[in-house]
Subunit: 238 residues, 2 copies
Amino acid sequence: MPTRRHAIADDLRHQISSGHFAPGERLPSETQLATHYTVSTSTLRSALALLQSEGLVEKIHGNGNFVRRPLCRITYTGGTAALAPWTAFSAPLRMTARTTNIEAPNHLTALLGVPPRTPLTEILFTTHEGKAPHSLAYTYVPHDLAPAAPPLPEQIAVGLADRCSAPSEVRERVSARLPTQEEATVLRISSSLAVISLIRVATDATGRVVEAALFVLPGDRADALFTTRVAEERSPKA
Amino acid sequence: MPTRRHAIADDLRHQISSGHFAPGERLPSETQLATHYTVSTSTLRSALALLQSEGLVEKIHGNGNFVRRPLCRITYTGGTAALAPWTAFSAPLRMTARTTNIEAPNHLTALLGVPPRTPLTEILFTTHEGKAPHSLAYTYVPHDLAPAAPPLPEQIAVGLADRCSAPSEVRERVSARLPTQEEATVLRISSSLAVISLIRVATDATGRVVEAALFVLPGDRADALFTTRVAEERSPKA
DNA sequence: GAGTGGTCTAGACCACGAG
DNA sequence: TCGTGGTCTAGACCACTCA
C-alpha cells in the first residue's frame, strides 16, 4: 500500500522525466506543491526527500527546489599504477588541485605507515562538470616525494614520477556510506545520497607507502571498475 | 549550531557506546524518550533516524527500537577468478543457497550477452551471522553450465569447475546506493543505510560469459578490497 | 487489548537568499 | 524586505507485535 509521499514522489518523478519540469528549473515552492497535492508541507517535504536521495532534486535553502541537470556518469578505473588520481577517470573532466603541507594526523599514520606528525603534502583534487563539483580526492604523499612545482595537475604527475620509485602494489578499499555534512556541502548533494568511499594506498618495492588517496564519489554519478585478467596457466580451482 | 535531533542522537550514541544501553537491548519507547528529552515525538524520531542510518539502531514496527549488536566486518576480495561467491569473503560465514531456473529477464541479457529468455540458473547466496542476514549475492550462470547437483554451496563450486572453462577475465563494477525496499527488508537494515552494489562478470577465453553475480553488501559492515601488483618491467608513467 | 512504531496534519518560528 | 526552505510542536489516527 503506497503512502502519500511515495505517490507524490512518483508523480514528480514522472513530471521530471517527461520534461514537464526541465533540468535546472525551479519547482514550485513547497507550500504551493503541498496545496496542489492537498497534503501538509511536512508530507510534501518527505516526498521531496525521496527525490533528493535519488539525486533528482537539489534543495537550496532560501531559494527553492531545483531539478538536477543529468550529470555525466564517470567511472573510476581501479588497478592502475598511475599516481595522478584523475587518470583513473574515464571521462574528460575539469579538475582543480590545492596543495597544503601538513603534519600527519592520527588517522593517516596507520594508512601511510609513518610516525605521527610526519611532514606530508596533501593535495585536494576536485573534479567539476560545469559549476557543480563532481568528486573529491584527498591525496597524501610523504613530503620528500612531493613535487616542488606549483600544483597544476599535469605538473604533479611529472613531479611524482620524477621523485619516487615505481609503485609495486596498489591496494584499493571500497566502501559505501552517507556523506559527512562537509562532503555533502562541497559536492552539493543531499546528505542522504550514498557515496563511494575509496581508499587507495600505493607502495613501492621496498614496502614504503608512496601515496595514499581518499576518494569520495557520489553514488548517483560514479562507479568504480576493476578488471582482472587470469593467466592461462592457472587452474580455475576455487 | 547543532540542532536538537543531533544533540539527542549524540547523547544516545554515547549511551550506546558507553554500554549504558547494551547491544540487543530495547530502548525506551519513543514517547518515553521524547518526554525525557522534552521534545516532540517527531523530533525524537528524526534523531533515531540518524542512528538508524549509521546502523546503530534497528527499529521493529510494533515492538521497539533495539541497539544493534556489533557485527563482524567482512571484506569482499576482488580480483579472484573463483566462481564460488563466498570464497571472496575474508571471514568465515554461514551461507545458504537457493537455486532457481529462470529465463533471462531483460536487465540481465546485456550483462550476460545472451538473447532474451535464455535459460539461466539463478543461485541466491545469503550469508548470515547469527540470525541476521549479512549480505546477498544473486549469481546467474547459463543453464548448460549450471551444476546438476543439489545446491549445497560446496557442490556448486565443484559443479561449476567441472563444466565450464576457466574464466579468463573478471570485471567487477562497484557502486554505492540506498537499498531497495526489498533489500532493506531481507537484510534487516534501514532503507537509509548505504549499500555497496557490486556486479561481477566472468568471461572465458572465447569471450562467453560464464557467470554474472550481483552482490548487495550493507555499507556498515562490508567493504571490498582490490589488490594490484605491478610488474617490475612497466614504467610508472601516468 | 495494550503498547509499540508509522503516517500525517496545521501551524509556529527561525535561517537563508535574492532583489 | 519578502519569499524560500529548515526545524520543531502537539496531537490524531493507523498498523503492527505480543501476551
